[in-house]
Amino acid sequence: MVIAFLRTIILYVIIIVGMRMMGKRQIGELEPSELVLALVIADLAAVPMQDFGIPILFGIIPILTLLCITMIISVLNMKSIRFRALMCGCPSVVIRNGKINQKEMRRNRFTIDELMEELRMQSVTDLSLVKYAILETTGTLSVLLYANQQPVTAELMGVGAPEPGLPLIIINDGRIMSHNLESRGLTMDWLEKRLKERLVKNPHDVFLCTVDEKERLYLALKEAQVQA
């Protein structure tokens, strides 16, 4: 049994390192080649984990080979548009100016039910409101409404909206993120002063504290502190 334990750890570490090397996109949006990789690796890892009669190399070598091939394909995808089109396909415009492109639908074997489902998921029920609907290479549908159907923005209304910028976490579960504090150009004295203003004696009592570029503070105390 200890062999199963050790083999599982070895294979798990190899897969995690490999997946991390593939990049963050691997986790969320899978291209066809990446989907194949994920499915095959899972199967390859499972066999030597369970069957002690098979050397672990019989699992590691195919996994390493697949990861290397995928890495090569990823780099070539970045370098060559033609190669990318060959490996991942091209986005298809399935609705143009409110009209369904049936040829593209057939080519992608995308049914009308799937199209309507995707549109409903994006809160669109009327096809005539859609300027473009594009079936992306990942299989998701991007919907662009006509300009007069787009949500009203502050710019369209001629209203100036302040830009708060990205809030940074300053206190994370009682721990002060000093590098975030420094990158915002703030000091520990500033933080202590602000906490005192909010009647917080100790940063350890804070669950979350963020500061935006306008130095506006968001503070959430730990539940025990709130109850007290």
């Binding site: 090397m21 050397p55 290397c68 890495m71 780099v75």
Partner: protein, 126 residues
């Protein structure tokens, strides 16, 4: 581009490593097979002591590479080889030529199969 070259280098290393491992196993299986063949020739001539020594030498040659064999071969294949050695050695001790010849031929055939399974040819690839 760095990752492209790193990946290519790893792929080439795997290819070279697997080919080298295959060659090594082939040469080991051939060498053990030859020793067993020589043992049979001696047994045929009635030199059972010589046949026993040759068979033991063949087993030692196989056992010396045990770690490498366990890393690169299916364990069921390795067990079959050991079972074959046990049977051949028992026959040599009993000095039963007919039975020995069958057991020895089976062991040599099994080693030959291992040898063939590591060959880089179209049959194995497909």
């Amino acid at each position: 581009m760095k990752w492209l070259w790193v990946s290519c280098a790893i792929l080439i290393a795997i290819l070279v490593g697997t080919m080298a491992s295959g060659r090594y196993l082939q040469s080991l299986a051939s060498s053990v097979g030859e020793q067993l063949q020589q043992a049979q020739t001696l047994a045929e001539a009635g030199d059972w002591s010589g046949a026993r020594d040759k068979t033991s030498a063949a087993r030692s040659t196989w056992q010396e590479k045990e770690v490498c064999i366990h890393i690169t071969l299916r364990h069921s294949d390795i067990n079959e080889v050991y079972k074959g050695f046990e049977r051949v050695e028992a026959c040599v001790r009993a000095e039963e030529y007919a039975e020995y010849a069958v057991a020895n031929a089976e062991l040599i055939a099994h080693l030959e199969l291992i040898n063939q399974s590591e060959m880089l040819d179209i049959e194995n690839v497909l």
